[in-house]
């Protein structure tokens, strides 16, 4: 046996001999080579060894052989090499053993600037890509609307089921929770002024105008936007997209249009559901914190809320849905060969979709304020 492999952790190596003639005993392998190196350093201070006897070396592996090769290069003669070690020593001895190439070091400040430049470039390209993709998607939708044969209702309804119906429980729960949060904060802040009853106005208006649609859009961006990227991305990585193209089908028409239309239909419906659940959460809060019965609550909401509040919320939903689907599908089609790339693009798609949704929501707030809605 080259190495006492039954109990590797017990392998030991020792130096014996005097003056410039030393001998190594035991097993010289990846675990013991550092130990030997350190021991030899101590010896080197006394006298430079001329020859090392390896006759009692019972085991040797490549790191050990590499170490012996270095000794040899320092002018140390290796004697008494066992027959079974010769092949290994020769193999290692004949290697060029060039040092590993290292990536060229870049100073910190330059790295910072390079990153900044790359980031800006990527942002520009992203924006151009997004605009181009919106154009392509809209033209594909237009084509499909004019030629209903390409509308694929089965595909659209499957998307509605996946992005809408199966999202109902989580969206409903989130809506209730958000109005509980707003309700608690409202009561705590308004009580010192004796206006805690206005909490109902606060909850109802903010849920209908903002929170309902925002929470739903964020949830859908995380759920369906990510799913779009991952689904299309895996298809891209497996060359399924190329297969579509080769067979004369347009990937945008097959994959993107149904998802886009699906989400544009789904998000307003989900938002409406989320509004209802949010108002329900408001009713719970009023009962708990304000001792206002559900019937009274309904009356109060009726006074506090205008139809406009509901519409302002709902009008944003299809736009958010469109953008979430656009970002998700665009990143899916951007995936390159590897599985890693699917993960990267999915993360980017979700971050970008949520970012776009929130920025747009802020713009809408300003716009509706100016319009007096």
């Amino acid at each position: 046996m080259q190495r006492s492999s039954s109990e590797p952790p017990l392998s030991r190596v020792a130096i014996s001999g005097e003056g410039d003639r030393l001998a190594f005993e035991g097993v010289l392998d990846i675990r013991t080579v550092s130990e030997l190196k350190n021991a030899l350093k101590g010896r080197l201070k006394q006298a430079k060894p001329r020859a090392v006897d390896l006759g009692s070396l019972s085991g040797l592996d490549t790191p050990g052989a590499l170490f012996l090769r270095e000794l040899r290069h320092k002018g140390v003669e290796l004697t008494g090499i066992r027959a079974e070690h010769e092949a290994l020593l020769e193999l290692i001895g004949n290697l060029k053993a060039k040092p590993l190439e290292k990536p060229a070091a870049v100073p910190r400040w330059r790295e910072l600037i390079i990153r900044l430049g790359k980031g800006a470039d990527a942002a520009l390209r992203d924006t151009i890509d997004l605009i181009t993709f919106v154009g392509r998607a809209v033209s594909a939708i237009g084509y499909a609307v004019i030629h209903p044969r390409y509308l694929r209702p089965a595909s659209i309804s499957r998307q509605i089921a996946e992005t809408g119906i199966s999202a109902l429980p989580i969206v409903g729960l989130m809506a209730v929770m958000i109005s509980v949060v707003i309700g608690y904060q409202g009561v705590a802040q308004l009580r010192p002024y004796g206006g805690e009853d206005f909490t109902i106005n606060l909850v109802a208006v903010s849920v209908l105008r903002e929170m309902g649609v925002l929470i739903t859009a964020i949830m859908v961006a995380g759920r369906s936007g990510a799913a779009f990227t991952a689904e299309i991305g895996v298809m891209k990585a497996r060359e399924e997209i190329d297969a579509f193209t080769v067979m004369g089908m347009k990937p945008i028409e097959m994959l993107v249009v149904p998802r886009l239309l699906g989400l544009v239909i789904t998000l307003p419906l989900l938002t409406f559901f989320s509004d209802v659940m949010g108002l329900l959460g408001g009713a719970m809060i009023s009962q708990w914190l304000l001792n206002i019965s559900p019937m009274q609550y309904v009356d109060r909401v009726h006074v506090a809320v205008h139809t406009n509040d509901l519409l302002v919320g709902l009008i944003k939903a299809p736009i958010f849905g469109f953008l979430i689907a656009i970002v998700g599908c665009m990143h899916g089609l951007r995936v390159k060969g590897s599985a890693e790339s699917v993960g990267q693009d999915t993360t980017r798609a979700v971050v970008k979709a949520i970012f776009v949704v929130i920025v747009l929501d802020a713009l809408f707030s300003v716009l509706f304020e100016k319009l007096g809605l």
Partner: protein
């Protein structure tokens, strides 16, 4: 072809009565296999015959439904992780290189985790492993996504060799490679076996690898295993083995046995 088995009769790894079931399908029915130090064993079988599962069982990645795997006479579950890593190296079919690490980092990682070698020593060792696997030094800074199929296999070889294992498991080492690169890999396997005395277990479909490299061959048929030298298997009456070893592709590989080149 002489087998080193005659010299050393103590198996380095042995499977005893392995049973593996997936649902109703019984993949392995009391399969026993001994691998002896210094030999190159090929594992073959039709698609779905359980080659990969057997490999996973032998490396301790899959716990069989019955039976046990002994590594140096010790149950593989009882061997601690560091010790097992020092004894076993695995080359996965797709390479399984860590995609976030460069080639050099991939090879250094097991050394960094399991040994107390100085960083510059680790780098030196990684450099010779790369060279042993037949890669140029400038491959070190590349990332797995920048490598060709053959290079991925070679880097995976270098990483599997990082801790100087006694046994190397190779899952389809030559699949997806052009014939030239594939015979380069065959030569590499032989060289490692010759000079480093590494025991090699190869799961393969490649008849060239089987004919040119392997000392013994284990055939998985109908949940059973038949292990013998290739010459004896050539005379075997079992229908699948006959077809496998006497088919048109096998004839080509057989003639290549002497030339060690070509495909089909």
């Amino acid at each position: 072809m002489t087998t080193p088995t005659q010299k050393r009769r103590e198996p380095i790894i042995s499977a005893r009565g392995i049973v593996n079931r997936f649902g109703k399908q019984q993949v392995h029915n009391k399969v026993s296999l001994d691998v002896f130090p210094g030999e190159i064993l090929g594992i073959v079988g039709g698609s779905g015959s359980g080659k990969s599962v057997l490999l996973k069982t032998l490396t301790g990645l899959h716990r069989p439904d019955a039976g046990e795997v002994l590594l140096n006479g010790k149950a593989i579950d009882a061997v601690d992780d560091a010790q097992r890593a020092a004894l076993i190296g695995v080359l996965f079919q797709q390479g399984a290189l860590f995609s976030s690490l460069s080639v050099a980092q991939n090879i250094i990682l097991p050394m960094r985790e399991h040994t107390d070698l100085a960083v510059e020593d680790q780098e030196k060792i990684a450099a010779i492993k790369l060279e042993l696997a037949g890669l140029p030094p400038d491959a070190a800074i590349k990332f797995p996504s920048e490598l060709s199929g053959g290079m991925v296999k070679r880097v995976a070889f270098a990483r599997a060799l990082a801790l100087d294992p006694r046994i190397l498991f190779l899952d389809e080492p030559t699949s997806d490679l052009d014939p030239l690169t594939a015979s380069g890999i065959d030569a590499l396997i032989q060289q490692l076996n010759d000079s480093l005395d590494i025991t090699v277990v190869i799961v393969t479909h490649d008849l060239n690898t089987l004919f040119t490299v392997c000392h013994r061959v284990a055939v998985l048929v109908d949940g059973k295993i038949i292990v013998d030298t290739l010459d004896n298997l050539m005379r075997c009456k079992q229908p699948w083995i006959r077809e496998f070893l006497h088919g048109p592709r096998a004839q080509g590989a057989l003639s290549a046995r002497s030339r060690k080149h070509g495909n089909r």
